[in-house]
Amino acid sequence: MKKSSKSELGRFLGSRGFWEIVFPLCMAGLSAYLWTVADAFRGGSARYEMIGPSFFPKLILGISLLICAIIGGQAIWAGRFENTPAPLAKLRWGRLLAAATITFIYAASLSHFGFLLATVAFQVMLLGIVFQLRRPFILILAPLLLTGILIVIFAIFMKVPLPRGIGAFSVFSRMFY
């Protein structure tokens, strides 16, 4: 009996219908929080007392609260969570998380290691871990080629100041752009 209710709950949590209700609820909560943040904005002059910096954000957040209630209400009214399939449960969460983590680490490491090294490492990891490429030749050649093209176009031709890194990495980057 306990197992059955647990699997019911799991199916419910995995269903899109569940998220159809939870998402607008979360958004309503976020809107309410941002309303309190907007409350602190001051116009700085009596002239802007009525239509100060918080006027428009509050208008938007107020309408958002209303729309969230409508969307959530629609989902409950339609009883979507009872019969809908569970597309979210079918996602490849592992690969998605790996891709997101690799990109996040890449973005965070750009200023330390410089664009060249960080981009090559990012591309090798993405191709090897996320796309599970097992051809060493392509795994090495493709990132070098792609990064080279990006540096030539963005840094050399278009003069975009791509990050060079710090210390020894900066010296290394300066050899190329």
Partner: protein, 489 residues
Amino acid sequence: MDILAGLLLVASPEVLPFLLLGVVVGLAFGALPGLDATTGVALLLPVTYVFSPLAALVFFCALYIAGVFAGSITAILFRVPGSSEAIMTAIEGHQFTLRGESGRALGFAMVCSAIGGLIASAALFTVAPYLASIALKFGPTEYFALALLGLSCISAMTAENFAKGIFASLIGLFLATVGIDAITGGKRFDFGVSTLLSGVPFVPAIIGLFAASEVYRRIAVGDVAWRRTEGGGQPNLKLPRMIEFLRIRWTILRSSLLGLAVGILPGAGATTASILAYNLEVQASKDRSGFGTGKVEGIAAPESANNAAAVGAMIPLLALGIPGSGTTAVLMGAFLVHNLVPGPLLFVQQPDLVSGLLVGITLSNILILLFALLFVRLFARLMLVPYPILATGILSISVTGALAFGDTNMVMIMLCFAVLGMVLEALEYPLAPIVLGLVLGPIVETSLRRALLISDYDPWVFFERPISAALLAVAALFFVAPIVRAFRA
């Protein structure tokens, strides 16, 4: 105005190479995400010190016009808008690529862009000063009504789930309030992050929403096999046949005129023009069902409008010395660098330069057709690349494009938008209204507040002025009509 003298000047060996170079550089800047025509003009401004004034100005105008078109190349092929003006083309045009018809979509985009630009060029020659003076009659109430008209296309785009469409646009409108308040100068929703003081950066946001989120979505659903991209193969660029062209002639004409009108308005811009033209086309179409799934009119309208708007933005600059867009503001710098002051006196003191410049602008639109063929072929070859390599390239370009706008914080913002885009798409919220909100948000807010301040908080001010009342009535009609139709269906 002596057109022949202008033509001879532009055809001279001192100017012609710079016209050609401007088109090529503009196509390169426009096609690459994160770089646009404004960046191109700003970056290359110091390079042109040594050019003659006409060569420099023709170079920048060609760069600007080609850059506005080029955003559609990557928008159609990879759903990565090279520039913000191509946002509606990304939504409609990429559907053609998924069907293996990218060549057809690119052909339509090219021809419609060129024609839109040429129609606006004709206005530039004939009625520039007159049109510019009308544009100056637009006050905050008219701008507010115009922006609402732009937002009204949400109902047409999302009639099946209007509430979700409205919510998505509210996300965009809210994000547009982040940063320094344009009226009081107060900080809003920056949460201590200095990057956010200048607002949510538009280009990293759309790169994240459309390009990076699509890669993550495909990773999540496991659609990343080692094969060509959908519609891959050697895409053959297909220019529209005469019968196809004649079928959309009114679409091109009305979108070009709308684009021209919006382009002339200071601050409205080519992105707003393409959104409004798409909206107008949806409303004017007898069969609205195909929009969003790859319809020729959905490409023709925004592409004609954005190039017409780019040329239209030159009208207040040249006729009145008022820059109508970000790029024309930078272009004004190019005039000043060469000791020229744009405005009515320029037409009197430098008639040859003005006629040469106008001919240069017109020729740029024709040259787009020629050079775009080469660029399209170059980018289309990327479709032959297996998806894992292409996806890695798209993510890398997305990051580099975001970096072109600032530091690594821009990359983080781009990634946040990628996550937002993926979550919203998974829950069937449309992404396009977010962009509408983000583009039109600043216009809606500042014009609403200014109008209310000027009128001493009288809301009737929006209905007292004829242009704003008419625009509001049309916006209300556009909002309500698709919902009524959906209910009836």
